[in-house]
């Protein structure tokens, strides 16, 4: 027992460790997925990880794009808001008609004052903010629109549509403030000494720069650069992708574009990042995120691998108690069957999801920022579903290993019950059942098809109707096929019965080819066949044994009989004078001779009746054979005063038989007449041919009363006289009948009063 307990304990421990490992792997996997999902670079594919440096990454390109957008805002608005490098509040912003013909122009100062009054201001990052405490809509003149004449910050855009030209003063102010914000943001951002991005944009009438020394040549000493000139189509650059849209911006911001002025723009990023700007932080963040993403990826993959390995191992070990044990240990749930298990699994999942929603999600909300709530909730649900399925899976695996999965399933029980139902009912009821089922199904489906095709004419319904028609057709084809198969099986069984009736008892139907009631029937038929075969074999065997026994016994009788006959003969040779002794000797001699015939006949009869005799059949002349036989018997008959009257055809008639055996048949019949015919009577021998058959008949009047049937006469050891005092073995007719039949002839006896008639019939051979 202690020997047994140790491996069991170790095995259980192993399983527990594997299970824990599986859960841990799940946690690792989930962590990895979460790290990837929550990374800033999620959804960028894995390509971003491929970039060797930050400067080649999409993040850098994105930031550079944003910065250049901002930069060109500055270029666009500098001269709108600035005079000699300083913000000039006297700059005129826009002009509109207060009343038709009365034009009013607002300076920046006017705008700022109005903005303050209306609650618009710029925040720390120069974004326009509207103070919510100011009730703009209700104040007077808020919705008053004016026709705008021009806007300094939007000089390029002509006011084409009438709608564009009419704006409220608030909207104009907000627009101006927004532009001012963009200008200010860019100005502060790209100040020399705070930015790692350097630029020099030179037009014919204006130039912008935050680094005077930056030229097309010096730009190349910085980490990344792009140089645009009016003489080249594509910018010269070493960026990971060519910023073609920048060319458009440079051209658009050219103040001399109407006159076709030339331009040149140089952008450069110092990739040593001396200033702590967005690029600097971007680089730091990039490295960080990359590491986290990488770790996430590794965790995910390793978690997945461990999950799979432990899952496979657990599936292999599940149900066993030791490593080598073949026995499967099942719990109650395992025995419930797959359908119940699936139902349980579904219930479990619903319960878990309910609990997760009520409790799990709340806990998550407490510990996780709201951005990730959705993700976290989904993740929790997935994990719970996975665990529920896992538990069910193991239950199913154990069931499968124990071989009860299919056995306990409702599907099987249903199938078996259906099969059993059809086994128990009669063929007629089964036919009726199938007929009504098919009819019901056809009617229902036809109604459905007609209904659908009349009611709906959409493409979908057409497809459904087509599908239903196809299904109807297939259903009927299937039903027909089933019926056809059953009928085929019945045909086979019928054939087998027929051949069995014709004597072929060696019936062995392959039960695999049959189903349902037909299989039961085929099985029964096989049984009958086997029974018959066995009975037949037994009968043949016992006949053989009987024949062998008779032969052996007759041998044993013959030896002492030889001595008896010989010594009787020796006594006779001594010529005893006493007439009494002479008389006794005669009796002894007769009886011993009789005994000799008896044993010989016995052997012959048993051989003839078991067919254990060789037939050497040839074409012989039946008439000649009868003549020969007559010759053999005529004188013998005369001894008893019998007259032999033969009526034979004059021509020869050929039959196919063994002459020696047929002689034996006739000899027995003639001997029979000799022994039992009434003294001084006539024996009639007759031969005739009719319809290709030759009939030989021998008739005599019996000396004794014939009170037994012809059938009994051909039984072995039956004689016309029950006393058995006369000579003869009682086997003659039996031998004659057996021998005739062995040669393919017919042997018949009939008794009419004292008239005994025997006939032998053979088919005539047409020479």
């Amino acid at each position: 027992m202690s020997k047994n307990k140790n491996p069991r304990f170790r095995f259980a421990l192993k399983k527990t460790i594997l299970a824990i490992l599986h859960i841990l792997a799940l946690a690792v996997f989930v962590t990895g997925v979460s790290l990837i999902y929550c990374n800033d670079n999620f959804k960028k594919g894995l390509i971003w990880m491929n970039s060797e440096t930050y400067e080649d990454s999409p993040a850098f390109a994105e930031l550079l794009g944003d910065d250049t957008d901002s930069l060109f805002d500055y270029i666009r608005y500098r001269d709108v808001f600035e005079t000699d490098g300083k913000l000039d509040t006297e700059k005129e912003m826009f002009s509109f008609d207060v009343t038709p013909g009365t034009e009013q122009t607002y300076t920046l100062d006017d705008v700022l004052q109005y903005a303050e009054q209306r609650g618009y201001y710029l925040d720390n990052s120069y974004r326009l903010v509207a103070d919510k405490s100011v009730q703009r809509e209700t104040s007077s003149g808020a919705n008053q629109t004016y026709m705008v004449n021009w806007r300094a910050y939007n000089s390029n855009k002509s006011l084409k549509e009438p709608g564009d030209a009419y704006m409220t003063l608030d909207a104009l102010t907000a627009e101006t403030m927004s532009c001012l914000g963009k200008y200010s943001a860019a100005k502060s951002k790209f100040n020399t000494g705070t930015s790692n991005l350097f630029y020099t944009v030179t037009y014919d009438s204006a130039s912008f720069t935050n680094l005077d020394t930056l030229t097309a040549d010096t730009a190349k000493s910085y980490g990344r650069y792009a140089i645009f000139t009016s003489s080249t189509v594509l910018p010269e650059n070493n960026l990971s992708y060519t910023p073609t849209e920048l060319t458009n911006m440079v051209q658009e911001c050219n103040p001399d574009k109407e006159s076709g002025g030339s331009y040149s723009a140089v952008l450069a990023v110092d990739t040593s990042y001396p200033q702590q700007d967005d690029f600097y932080y971007g680089k730091i963040s990039y490295g960080h995120q990359r590491n986290i993403y990488f770790i996430g990826l590794i965790l995910m993959l390793s978690g997945l691998a461990t999950l799979l390995v432990t899952l496979v191992l657990l599936i292999l070990m599940s149900g066993h108690t030791t490593r080598k044990s073949q026995e499967i240990v099942l719990n109650r749930v395992d025995r419930l069957g797959p359908e119940t298990n699936a139902l349980l699994c579904a219930v479990m999942i619903i319960l878990c999801l309910f609990l997760a929603e009520k409790i799990g999600n709340r806990l998550l909300h407490m510990s996780i920022p709201s951005v990730y709530w959705h993700f976290a909730e989904n993740m929790l649900a997935y994990i719970l579903i996975y665990l529920c399925i896992l538990v069910t899976l193991f239950s199913l695996v154990r069931g499968f290993k124990a071989g009860i999965l299919w056995k306990n399933s409702f599907l099987r029980r249903f199938k078996n019950n259906t099969a059993k139902f059809f086994l128990d009912i009669s063929f007629a009821r089964r036919s009726a059942f199938y007929f009504w089922l098919t009819l019901l199904f056809n009617v229902l489906l036809t109604f459905l098809i007609v209904f659908l095709s009349l009611k709906n004419h959409t493409l979908t319904s057409r497809f459904i109707v087509a599908g239903l028609i196809l299904f109807l057709f297939l259903f009927n084809a299937f039903q027909f096929r089933k019926k056809f198969e059953r009928d085929e099986q019945m045909d086979d069984i019928s054939d087998a019965i027929k051949s069995m009736a014709e004597g072929d008892t060696d019936i062995n139907l392959d039960l695999k080819e049959y189903s349902g009631k037909e299989a039961v029937m085929a099985g029964s038929l096989n049984h009958i066949g086997q029974g018959l075969q066995t009975a037949l074999n037994d009968a043949v065997k016992s006949e053989r044994m009987k024949a062998d026994l008779i032969t052996n016994v007759s041998h044993d009788i013959k030896t002492p009989l030889t001595s008896i006959i010989n010594y009787v003969d020796l006594i006779k040779r001594e010529h005893p004078s006493d007439p009494k002794i002479q008389e006794y000797l005669t009796v002894l001699d007769q009886k011993s001779q009789h005994l000799k015939t008896l044993t010989e006949d016995l052997v012959e009869a048993s051989k003839a009746s078991t067919g254990n005799i060789s037939i050497d059949a040839r074409d012989i002349d039946f008439v000649e054979l009868v003549e020969q036989t007559n010759g053999e018997f005529e004188e013998k008959y005369a001894d008893r005063g019998l007259e032999l009257l033969a009526d034979l055809p004059s021509k020869s008639i050929l039959i196919h038989a063994d002459g020696q055996h047929l002689w034996r048949v006739l000899e027995n019949l003639y001997s029979n007449a000799y022994k039992y015919a009434a003294g001084k009577s006539r024996v009639y021998v007759n031969m005739a041919e009719k319809d290709g058959s030759v009939f030989f008949t021998i008739k005599n009047v019996s000396e004794h009363e014939l009170n037994i049937s012809p059938e009994e006469l051909t039984e072995r050891f039956v004689r016309g006289d029950q006393s058995r005092t006369t000579e003869g073995s009682g086997l003659g007719l039996s031998i004659a009948k057996s021998l005739t039949e062995l040669q393919g002839g017919k042997f018949e006896l009939s008794i009419d009063g004292d008239l005994f008639k025997a006939s032998v019939t053979f088919p005539e051979v047409q020479a």
Binding site: E624, Q628, G631, A646, L648
Partner: protein
Amino acid sequence: MAEKILVCDDDREIVEAIEIYLKQEGYEVLKAYDGYEALKIMEKTPVDLLIVDVMMPGLDGIRTTLKVRESSSIPIIILSAKSEDSDKILGLNIGADDYLTKPFNPAELTARVKSQLRRYTKLGNMSEKPDSHIFSVGDLEIDDDTKEVKVSGNPIKLTPIEYNILLLLVRNAGKVFSIDDIYEQIWNEEAIGADNTVAVHIRHIREKIEINPREPRYLKVVWGVGYKIEKQP
């Protein structure tokens, strides 16, 4: 000098009965009760004929016959209770000269012994007569000049018709004659169907020349075909 005949059978009474019969015929009889004993006797004394039973303890008749045939060509008669055709065929095939079934007719046994011995000892003396009027088949001899018929040297009395039938068959030994053939040849008339005459005559001839008319050696009945005289009985 009397011929020596060895009789071998496990049934002593049968052996003694045979001894009595053969001694009456003037033969010297040696007795053995199984195959080994028979072989031992034959080693010591040369014998002229062997009568052997089949079913014996020790060495049976078949194997004894085979042993004897390894060194000797004396006539062997098997005397057995086994009466099947297959047993007879087996016995004759392995080297026996004759096969008799028990229970046997003593007269038939002695006749067959005589026949075998004559053939063995006087082989070749018979057919040396150049006279074409003497016909012989086995022990059957017909002298057409004197109209004498002899079987094993014993004269047989036949009627003229029987004699003519026998002569016809002997002259054409091996050939089968139907009843009609014989009738036409002997009576010089056309045969008109059913007549037992020929068959009855044949039966009479058989009873006269055969030792056992039921198992004829010379005049054989081919049932359903006709009659013939065996060339080599």
